[in-house]
Symmetry: C2
Subunit: 219 residues, 2 copies
DNA sequence: ATTAATTTTTAGACATGCCTAAAAATACTA
DNA sequence: TAGTATTTTTAGGCATGTCTAAAAATTAAT
């Protein structure tokens, strides 16, 4: 139905729309997709002709419902494949993004339905991001950043705000993973670093940079 | 490494080489890939430049070891994905070809290794075709056509020579599947049809056209 | 062995998606 | 508000992979 490239543009614009709720600039898209503004303009016009987004010259773009649906479906596929790779094939959460970037473009609705069932209808991917439903509904994250939680409040680690390989490997190294229960024992006013008490009774210290990229659910 | 299209050409040429052991003609490739001879010539020259095949104008082509390896790797990926779709996702054997045609181009050696392990290192795909090893070895089929088996020889149905959806659905309808034990009770000299006795003690009649597309292993 | 039929290649064109360089529009600043 | 800087678009081109139509080579046939 839609090309590899078209889906990637729609997904990028969707992603940008989640943060800024205004229309999305040509340059922002070019930056995210590591391409040039001129190329973006070309593709935007093509997508506008197909009614996948609204476009006014020099005014940026906004996805239509149709375009948003294609983007959300692509996100759904990406996240389901990530669950498959981690849960079934035992990939690390730092290894799955690039492969899922390819798999998300496989075109078969039945395949995704069956994959979803096989995985047990997961609600979140291995990084804690919500998986859109078959109908295209996606719930807003109910998680909060660890650095905004007050001391002694028990929480469960439930997601990450930074998806980079480096960050995920760092979490592996210090022993933090999704599902880890912990609470903030102590907050350092000087540098924002935290002393975290894990449910293993062990305590670790993490920097503010780490804390502000960890999503938790209060319990 | 190689494009979607390049892999498809190499796979097609490999397939044609299995039957005819001479060099493969431009038209044969065009027919198999449902494209035009002129397009084939273009691609052939490109693949020859990359040392994936030997090409002399007007003399047809032959895969190099390098080209054969790419083709076999693609076949391996295709067949492993077919096993995944049937065994894990519960697709019918008549439904998996088109999806595997897409999945076979996903580029990640680690993914295929892990998929192979997850599936339990299968030796054959859902149609009974052998799965090449990681090293690129592929064993020649040890199966024989049902219409060449002599009466009363017990056999196990082990593969198909016709992979079309129509044929596979026909086999489903008459209750034949891989693993079915049977023997030929009676052979009709007039039209080549066979009376097959299944291990369920039930007997069915199948036409010669069906029999000559069923691969069996004598037991 | 020469003509006829077929196969294959070349030539020129088109669509997709990308690029650079230059022009146009918008945004910022003094 | 004029002038400068930035963003965006246009213009023209390139690579991939496709096509049709015509030319060249090969194969078949009388």
């Amino acid at each position: 139905m839609y090309s590899f490239t078209e889906e990637n543009y729609l997904k990028a614009i969707y992603k940008l729309s989640e943060n800024n709720r205004q229309s999305i600039s040509t340059n922002a898209i070019a930056d995210l997709l590591q391409t040039k503004a001129a190329s973006v303009t070309d593709m935007i016009r093509k997508l506008a002709e197909k009614k996948l987004l609204k476009y006014e010259k020099y005014k940026g773009v906004e996805l239509t419902e149709k375009g948003k649906r294609v983007a959300v479906d692509t996100v759904r596929k990406h996240r389901l494949w990530e669950v498959f790779l981690c849960d079934k094939l035992k990939f690390g959460w730092d290894e799955v993004h690039d492969i899922a970037e390819q798999l998300e473009h496989i075109n078969s609705a039945l395949l995704i339905d069956k994959l979803d069932a096989f995985l047990g209808y997961p609600s979140h991917d291995p990084h804690g991001d919500p998986i859109p439903t078959k109908n295209g509904d996606i719930k807003k994250s109910e998680f909060v950043l660890l650095n905004t939680v007050k001391a002694l409040q028990p929480v469960i680690m439930s997601g990450v705000a930074d998806h980079s390989v480096l960050f995920l490997q760092h979490l592996d190294k210090i022993g933090l993973r999704l599902g880890t229960s912990c609470l903030i024992e102590e907050m350092n006013a000087y540098d924002g670093s935290l002393k975290l008490k894990l449910n293993s009774k062990q305590s670790i210290s993490i920097s503010k940079d780490v804390a502000k990229n960890i999503l938790v659910k209060p319990v």
